[in-house]
């Protein structure tokens, strides 16, 4: 398997298309963790996330001939996973695990941790309320650190649309920060901290 470390995704895809099924195993190992993390952003439940990853890899395999390499294999996989997650959310709208349980399960003995968890919970709930496209753009940008070009590929939309979706999502969340007293107090407390670490994350937008 080590011989495959230097092989690109596109080369592996070509091998699989040519009938070399074991090469697909390399692609699965390479991308399953990232796909699982992405799925968790949408379904908040490890079992459902694993189902999404499994379904996505199987769909990708079936449709491998339609992958032309115009985007990266990872972007294509993410695209399939997001569509699968959306379908799952539609199917199980009322069966999803309560998000509060997930976040309250985080060990939080110290007061600051409790506040952190509470605020985190509010934000998670607000992210869930976003329209699916805005939520997708936000997740890919904030948590997956994708460029707008990559986000546009995953979402199959123009670059500007991807950027607009992300900005709208961020504006809504900022409004939430400003409207909710609890969040406002907290963000003011940590404001100094963000200014301080801001330099570390500075990036051109």
């Amino acid at each position: 398997m080590e011989r495959d470390l230097g092989t690109t995704d596109l080369e592996l895809v070509e091998r699989v298309k040519a009938g070399d099924r074991p090469s697909y195993s390399v692609l699965v190992r390479r991308h399953q963790k990232g796909l699982l993390r992405l799925s968790m952003r949408f379904v908040k439940d490890m079992d459902s996330a694993q189902d999404i990853v499994q379904d996505s890899f199987i769909k990708a395999y079936e449709k491998l001939n339609s992958f032309e390499g115009r985007s990266s294999f990872k972007s294509w996989l993410f695209q399939i996973a997001i569509n699968t997650a959306r379908n799952k959310l539609r199917e199980n709208r009322h069966d999803m695990t309560d998000i509060e349980n997930v976040h309250l399960a985080v060990g939080a003995s110290a007061e600051s941790s409790l506040v952190h968890s509470a605020v985190s919970e509010i934000i998670s709930q607000e992210v869930e309320k976003l329209p699916f496209k805005q939520r997708t753009a936000l997740v890919l940008r904030v948590y997956e650190d994708m460029s707008f070009k990559e986000i546009a590929e995953v979402m199959e939309c123009p670059y500007d649309t991807a950027k607009a979706n992300y900005r709208h999502a961020l504006l809504k969340l900022r409004q939430v920060f400003e409207e909710q007293a609890e969040l406002k107090n907290w963000t003011e407390e940590v404001g100094g901290f963000f200014m301080e670490v801001g330099h570390k994350y500075a990036e051109a937008e």
Binding site: Q32, F57, E62, L64, S66, V190, F194, Y201
Partner: protein, 158 residues
Amino acid sequence: MDTQDRPVSRTEKTRRLIRDLDDMDFDVSNDLLEGLHDRIMSQIEKTEIEPPARVAKVRSHLKSHWRSWLYSGSTMGMLAAALTFGGVQVAQWLGPHEALANLDQVSQELVIEAAISPDDFSNTILTNVSTNDFFVDVALQSHENLSISEVNEILRTQ
């Protein structure tokens, strides 16, 4: 401006805030990942890759087999079009020059003809007799025996 001196936008602050608030615990064990991988691959063993769609097949075929021919064919076509267009242009440019050359040649022949036999030249070439006159002459000679009124009748019907 140095990135360290760049002011942080509110959008960027919000982004960092959200990212910092990320509580999602994502410490997945290797066993979980191995199990997931094995489940996926066991399903893959039973799955077949769908044949390419017809449109994609044609496009792929064109891409892989005919691309070089398409390129060379289109190059040849463009070359032929350029040559044809260029040929027309050259012919249009040469046309008047060729006519002038012919005119020179004809005038030289006329001068020679006039020098050799000036009478013939004046009778045959320097004449203002039209085709109609010629036919009238022929008619007159062919019908010498006709009366004037008959000749006039023939001329009227012409």
